[in-house]
């Protein structure tokens, strides 16, 4: 696997897992507006994951769904940050959202400069949607930045951002559940 494919999978895994974690707020967020916002962000992220898996699948001779669901848990390259189940802690959720979107802007920026025009185009498309996630994260950062619980969450979560290849116990549970329908019947299409 080339470094580039490795990098694409890393981002795709982050987006897929964070997409789920964000959608966990659907129906139970502090405000209905945030239900809608977080599930919209989740949709974008899952959509980005799909586009990136498709791209990696071309190189690896497989499919996006197989990459998303049929690898063993150890093979996922997602950051420890996105694995954590944070519901119902809104302060920690916003801290993660802010840390993630800030870091994501940087790496998507690098992909946008790629010599591979197709990949650069995909990154630009992703970035256009991520711009709204950043605005949303920034708005909440400004609202909460004086809250002690928010500051504490930022300090606690920041070091997890770059931890990869190590999985939380929560990730094992998540993977089991995420792949349960797919693994339930051999040879079925869904």
């Amino acid at each position: 696997m080339t470094d580039q494919v490795q990098k694409i999978l890393e981002i795709a895994d982050d987006e897929l897992i964070l997409g789920w974690r964000n959608s966990e707020w659907t129906g139970i967020a502090p405000l209905l507006e945030e239900d809608v916002a977080f599930s919209s962000i989740a949709q974008n992220e899952i959509g980005h994951a799909r586009a990136l898996y498709e791209r990696a699948a071309q190189e690896l001779g497989t499919t996006a769904d197989e990459l998303a669901f049929d690898r063993s848990p150890e093979e996922y390259r997602c950051s420890r940050l996105v694995q954590l189940r944070l519901v119902p802690d809104w302060a920690a959720t916003i801290a993660r959202h802010y840390l993630y979107e800030t870091a994501d802007e940087e790496r998507i920026g690098v992909l946008k400069q790629s010599e591979d025009a197709e990949l650069a185009g995909l990154a630009a498309k992703i970035d256009r949607e991520e711009a709204y996630h950043r605005m949303h994260a920034q708005m909440w950062f400004e609202r909460l930045h004086d809250e002690p619980r928010f500051k504490a969450a930022l300090d606690e979560l920041q070091p997890l951002l770059d931890v990869r290849g190590e999985h939380t116990p929560e990730f094992a549970t998540l993977w089991e559940e995420m792949t349960s329908v797919r693994r339930s019947l051999a040879g079925a299409t869904w």
Partner: protein
């Protein structure tokens, strides 16, 4: 009823529509709030049977479609609660009454979602039953409600397509997948037949009298059966009602739905009622500080 109220009643019965600022009888306003609030509650509670399946959705496409569907539903509840708010009942009070059990939500959202087969059947048939009721609200005498129903019906029609596709894919799959769908249909048929309510004549239904609804309960159920039973059969599924058939007069006959079950369920005694309201109650408490922070900022 005084002359002014009678004039209002004649006006709405003649197809007239009312705006928020127009005069309206207190009884009409109270009925509107009750009806629209229950719709808002149902959209919001309708999220809960499906949300956990976003994680379990077996392909990326299904995951995206389900996330979009669930998001639509929260968006609908937001829109609908705004209409209720304009009529004089703030959203926070609607949510209080929902959690305390004072207000109601639709019967179908009190049941568990056991398998991926249920996810397909809910999106296809529960949404189909719902869209029949909602299309009849496009002519609602309260114009602001009728207007938002356009957007809602448009989005619901995509849910039905998604649901039908989930079901169709499983029916074209393995025997076990077909069994999952049949079992889900068996579970959901009772609640689906109860969905449109008991067959009181529309003239006795206050919601029809005030032209909040434009059709009676039995008309809605007949329309559902007419539209969907042939499709259910075509897919090779069996409807779990031996008496179900269409008579020569084009009217569907069926076994009497369990109206006691409907009453039990909508009064808060469904299999999942307590658990789902508890989830809503605890999450509301746990996030109360966020609303306080936002309100302090707005002040």
């Amino acid at each position: 009823m005084d002359a002014k109220e009678q004039e209002f009643l004649d006006y709405v019965q003649g197809g007239g529509q009312v705006e928020t600022e127009d005069w309206m009888p207190d009884e009409y306003r109270a009925k509107l709030i009750k009806f629209i609030e229950m719709h808002g509650n149902s959209e919001l509670m309708g999220v809960l049977p499906e949300r956990e399946w976003i994680l379990r959705a077996p392909t990326l496409q299904r995951k995206l479609a389900l996330t979009a569907k669930v998001q639509d539903e929260v968006g609908h509840s937001q829109l609908i609660y705004r209409v209720v708010e304009d009529l004089g009942k703030p959203r926070e009070r609607c949510l209080d009454d929902l959690i305390s059990g004072k207000s109601k939500f639709h019967n179908v959202f009190h049941y568990p979602t056991k398998t991926w087969g249920d996810v397909g059947v809910i999106a296809w048939l529960v949404d189909a039953a719902a869209i029949i009721s909602q299309k009849a609200l496009l002519k609602c005498s309260y114009a602001p409600y009728a207007r938002i129903m356009k957007k809602i019906c448009w989005e619901e029609s995509f849910h039905i397509l998604h649901g039908r596709d989930v079901v169709l894919t499983m029916m074209l799959g393995t025997d076990e997948q077909r069994e999952l769908v049949q079992e889900a249909l068996d579970r959901w048929w009772g609640p689906l037949m109860q969905f449109h309510g008991n067959p009181i004549s529309r003239e006795e239904d206050p919601m029809y009298v005030w032209r909040i609804k434009s059709q009676g309960n039995e008309e809605a159920r007949q329309q559902f059966l007419d539209g969907y039973v042939p499709q259910i059969w075509e897919l090779g599924l069996t409807v779990p009602d031996p008496k179900l058939r269409k008579n020569e007069d084009d009217v569907w006959k069926y076994s009497e739905p369990d109206w006691d079950e409907l009453k039990r369920v909508v009064t808060g005694h469904g299999p999942k009622t307590a658990e789902r309201l508890e989830l809503r109650r605890t999450s509301r408490e746990e996030t109360a500080w966020v609303r306080r922070a936002v309100l302090a900022e707005a002040a």
